[in-house]
Amino acid sequence: MDDIEGTIVRNEPVIPGHFRVSIRLARPMGRVRPGQFVMLRIPSSEVFLRRPFSIYNYERGVLSLLYKVAGRGTAALANARAKVRVMVLGPLGNGFTVLAGHEAIVVAGGIGIAGVNLLWSKLRERKSLFWGCTDSAEAGLVDDLISCEPYVSTIDGSLGCKGNVVELLGEHISVLKRPAQVFACGPEPMLSSLRALLGDERIPCQVLVEERMACGLGICFGCVRKTLDEAEPYKRVCKEGPVFDLWQISP
């Protein structure tokens, strides 16, 4: 892990409001595990702190991040052109742990796909992808990014099943092979629904969570998630996370 200078190679919209930026690093990053993230210094005087981004992909010295414009930081990043220099701190945090011999079920909601893409591409186990979107436009995020036939749901029914992705998973889960393990990244209501769906069987489930960060290194204690550890309930998302065991975090 280190702070490495990089140069933006490409920074283009994938679908409206969502961008993919590719950054060529001046030297290689340490070994990247799926689920890890970087702290990116945004090339704008309007953004004071770095911003955390899941590592969407990293190969041959090029880091790519898939992001949704959601605030001041991502809006400024979306304006950055090729050849702009940035600082990249990473790889940071704990990634996903794959249990051998388990059928892998990957569940992503919206831009949460950015957090599980690398895991998906590296999974050698039998695997299936459940991918929930608001509408068919958002589903365009992965058109050319993931080569598989995912189970797709959209809230408006414009593509795949109408409804949310956990309902879709619920329809199929009984026929998926056991033992199974779930990897998830998406909005908080999705994580709550997963808890309800998987609770009876207590299927192993790792979730990649999001929180505002200042340092990304574990030195500020600003990005915590409440867990069931009574002695020390607040765990740092950047340091003990960003991947947590769903059964160890507070409902």
């Binding site: 702190l49 505002r212 200042a214 998630r225």
Partner: protein, 305 residues
Amino acid sequence: MADLSLSLFGKRLKNPVMNASGTLGYGSEIEPLWTVDTLGAYVSKGLSLLPHHGNPPPRLWEEPSALINSVGLQNVGVERFFKEKFPLFEERNTPVIINFFGFTEEDYVRCAESIGANRLILALEINLSCPNIKEGGICFGKEAQGVFRIVKKVKEATPLPIVAKLTPEVTDIVAIAAAAFEAGADGINVLNTFPAAAMDIENRVVALRGGLSGPFLKPMALRAIADISRRIPIPVIGTGGIMDHRDALSFLMAGAAAVQVGTATFVDPYAIPKIIKGMGAFLEARGIPRIDQIIGIARAQDSDI
């Protein structure tokens, strides 16, 4: 090479740069990037006698060139700190300032009593000003009498040097520093974060209340350092808004015996080593052999009336 070393509270430090409390975790977290013996001294996260959980998230809010935090003093407590975290500083032979807090005067005293002398402990730093917890430091730090009382009690409870870390949210910070000095403080640290709040206009709620930090603090801290160091005959540690070596040198020239760097490390994790290097290069380029030659150098020409 210019000599950056200095004496503080009877110990020799390799340079005048420390981290501000709570901005470098327990020290180990930064070690993948640089080792803690880079610092003149490590300042611990605010410790309490017993472990403290801190505040629920969200704890952070960004403002233009500033950060509001409401961590709420999450810490493992004195006992676990010395068992689990302190060995790193022994291994690195790095002086440590123990920052601590309490919710009552008795808490402060018991916490100070629980910290035994150790060759690496440079001082105890009393957090008189954390604005995050209702029963916490702000009550003590805002009034001279309260500061006097708590510093005196802590001083009686420990043989270690005491640094009083002041809040900027007071009408007369020199009077507060004077009260700390009269109560027996061995040093003053100015200043802590400024109490602040942020609004979420979409949801029409106050999104966060906490302490505001960042480069805007620097001119406020600089003035407080100059005013206090002119009048109070104990070392002043300058903290607030330092982003680079020029800021750090400014504090020293104003009269700070040492400086602490906080929020800058979040923006650039190498800020502290860069500041130390930059200070050395500044002195070198001007033919100044020792850092202590510039401490308080601007005081003579500065009128604070």
